[in-house]
């Protein structure tokens, strides 16, 4: 199986602080992967590098079957290649309706001219309704998304990610602030999604990671400390010392 995303030997420093230190990582086209690590391990910087927000000092990042290099592409271009990102805090466009939010995210041409003359076809609207239905927002399509509850916003954002039809999904702490029921629902959704695309989940919550039941990559001080099943990595003495040492 060839990798969908291949990160190798990447380093980046901010004002002399090495946030990412010779990190290598790869994920297949239909795989679920959890990334854990203590605060400051470089989890967010790692996602920033993949999505083009941060340029690494050295190393390579390639993506897709044609192995195109993501370095030097801007955020929008990388998103169009098929990488979606979910932020920790739900970021939806609060001043616009749920429907408008979903239409914005819907996979379609992104250039200004094409968007100017774009109008929704029945298939697009059906897709919007299906997505809203999937995340339990079908009754709220015409509401402004700013009125939704925190959990509903999270779901709206997930629906927007699905609408983008990404090949790689980066999810930052998806269950923060969710109730146990919502957590279970999110777990099922992520496992389901990973059947035909790559999903990378960054999470603190060990119980949640255990329920995902997938390969785990442990980051520490900007490098991969251990990789394998959760049981495997939690038995690793280095991982134990990092987590216990930090309290």
């Amino acid at each position: 199986m060839t990798a969908l995303l291949e990160v190798s030997g990447v380093s980046v420093s901010f004002d002399g602080f090495r946030a990412i230190n010779n990190l290598s990582f790869s994920i297949g086209p239909a795989e679920l992967r959890a990334i854990i690590g203590p605060n400051g391990a470089g989890k967010t910087t790692f996602m920033d590098i993949i999505t083009g927000k941060t340029r690494p000092d050295s190393g390579t990042v390639t993506f897709g079957p044609r192995s195109i290099s993501l370095l030097g592409l801007n955020e929008a271009r990388i998103a169009r290649e098929g990488i979606g990102r979910k932020f920790q805090r739900p970021t939806v466009f609060e001043d616009q309706t749920v429907e408008a939010n979903l239409i914005l995210a819907l996979k379609a041409a992104r250039s200004p001219w094409k968007v100017l003359f774009w109008s929704p076809k029945p298939a697009d609207l059906a897709r919007v309704r299906a997505l809203a239905n999937e995340v339990g927002l079908s009754g709220h399509l015409q509401r402004k998304s700013g009125e939704l509850s925190h959990g509903q916003k999270q779901w709206l954002e997930i629906a927007m990610l699905l609408a983008q039809e990404p090949r790689l999904l980066l999810v930052d702490e998806p269950v923060a602030g969710m109730t146990p029921a919502e957590r279970a629902q999110t777990t099922d959704l992520l496992v389901n999604l990973a059947q035909d695309r790559a999903v990378v989940v960054v999470e603190h919550d060990m119980d949640f990671v255990r329920r995902l039941d997938c390969r785990v990559t442990v980051l520490h001080e900007g490098a991969v400390l251990a990789e394998g099943s959760l049981d495997h990595v939690t038995r690793d003495p280095q991982v134990v010392s990092v987590y216990l040492g930090r309290g």
Partner: protein, 410 residues
């Protein structure tokens, strides 16, 4: 999003109807075509106000919708005025020069005419050469093409440089202001080729229509301004009503998030900046023949700041708000600065409206910003009960908290 454009935006029809009624009423009251109850100079003021409403529409699109606080859009407006002014002045002077030379008996040669025009126009800055930028001033179609393409290109190049470097927020405002100021300072020079601080004048006299009274001309320009405003409103309302409008509002609210959705944010900003610069230019092309004179002071940064104040008072992010703000404030401004209002004597000091108007404007700007951030346009929301519902209180729980404290008690 499924309904047709006009069904989605009923305000367009209301606006167009109101504009049509207004135009008809003014025509029937004008000296040129009607009862003569409105003076020609007031028709001109109203025509100019319509042009200002058009440029306010442009400002609302770029600021209220796309979130780019440009303090340079009046530069495009004035550039449009300069461009059309060049043709008006050239063609009018040509008529005068040809008539004058014909007195001599012999028909004048083209060189003599050219020389005569150059001396007439540039004598005031001590020159008798026609500068290169006047090459196309003899032809209306060519000069009109220039009038739209020069400010358009300036906006395109400036916007490309600024947006590509991801200059945003207050830094972008400062940059646009610097552009306006630089242009104004350049035009103030006598050798800029546009008559320095004298500017261009006599623009109200249309070439070939020497015998037509200004009573008629003023109404024609009023109609043209109303038509431009109507079409501009329709076009911009269409632009913001669909997915494009949704994208630019999203850029205003969270630019980074829009990038992660795959939209080339810089291209959208450049598109909106250039489009609105073109609308501003068009408004300027119609404004200055009614004003009759243009000079570099029109490009001063303060003009663009006024524009932002009109849009803020009228209500950002809604097109009719911009029109109301520009119309209301600029008409009030011409009333207060006309000198016709009597001073109010208060013992040792007396309130002269010409001086105090700016103070009033300043206070009302502060008041609107603090008390009614949605501006005058927001009043319509209050009547129609749209906008964000006031749900009061904090959510009752983290899960699906649709009920909030106050709602739960009801």
């Amino acid at each position: 999003m499924t309904r047709s454009f006009l069904a989605r935006t009923p305000s367009v029809l209301i606006f167009l109807a109101a504009l049509a009624v207004f135009t008809l009423a003014i025509t029937l009251l004008s000296e040129g075509f009607g009862a003569g109850l409105i003076s020609t100079s007031f028709v001109k003021t109203l025509g100019k106000t319509l042009c200002l409403c058009l440029v306010a529409l442009a400002m609302d699109l770029v600021w209220g919708y796309a979130g780019i606080l440009s303090l340079g859009h009046m530069a495009f407006f004035a550039l449009g005025g300069y461009m059309i002014g060049m043709w008006l002045m050239y063609a009018r002077t040509e008529e005068i020069v040809v008539t004058a030379l014909a007195q001599g008996g012999l028909p004048a040669t083209p060189e003599e005419v050219q020389q005569g025009i150059a001396t007439q126009i540039f004598g005031v800055v001590g020159s008798s050469e026609l500068p290169a930028i006047w090459t196309f001033a003899h032809s209306l179609p060519l000069q009109l093409t220039l009038a739209l393409s020069v400010p358009g290109l300036l906006a395109l190049v400036f916007g490309w440089l600024a947006f590509r470097a991801r200059v945003t927020g207050v830094y972008l405002s400062i940059l646009t202001q610097a552009m306006t100021l630089a242009l104004a300072l350049y035009l103030f020079q006598n050798d800029s080729g546009l008559r320095g601080n004298n500017g261009l004048s006599g623009l109200q006299n249309l070439p070939g229509l020497t015998d037509t009274s200004q009573d008629l001309v003023s109404v024609w320009f009023f109609w043209a301004s109303a038509l431009a405003l109507g079409l501009g409103y329709l076009a911009l309302a269409w632009v913001v009503s669909g997915k494009f409008g949704s994208v630019i509002r999203a850029i205003r609210d969270d630019e980074a998030r829009v990038r992660f959705l795959g939209y080339p944010v810089e291209a959208y900003k450049l598109f909106v900046f250039t489009l609105t610069a073109l609308v501003a230019t068009l408004a300027g092309v119609l404004y200055y023949p009614q004003a009759g004179i243009i000079n570099p002071a029109e490009l001063a940064p303060i003009a663009s700041i006024y524009l932002a104040v009109w849009v803020a008072i009228g209500g950002r992010g809604r097109l009719y708000g911009a029109v109301i703000g520009a119309g209301f404030v600029s008409l009030l401004s011409s009333l207060f600065t006309s000198g016709r209002l009597p001073d109010i004597p208060l013992g040792p000091v007396s309130i002269a409206w010409v001086d105090w108007w700016l103070v009033i404007l300043g206070f009302s700007f502060v008041a609107v910003t603090l008390l009614a951030p949605k501006g005058i346009g927001g009043l319509f929301d209050r009547f129609l009960h749209i906008g964000t519902p006031d749900r009061k209180g904090a959510p009752l729980g983290p899960d699906d908290g649709s009920l909030q404290e106050q709602e739960a008690q009801e």
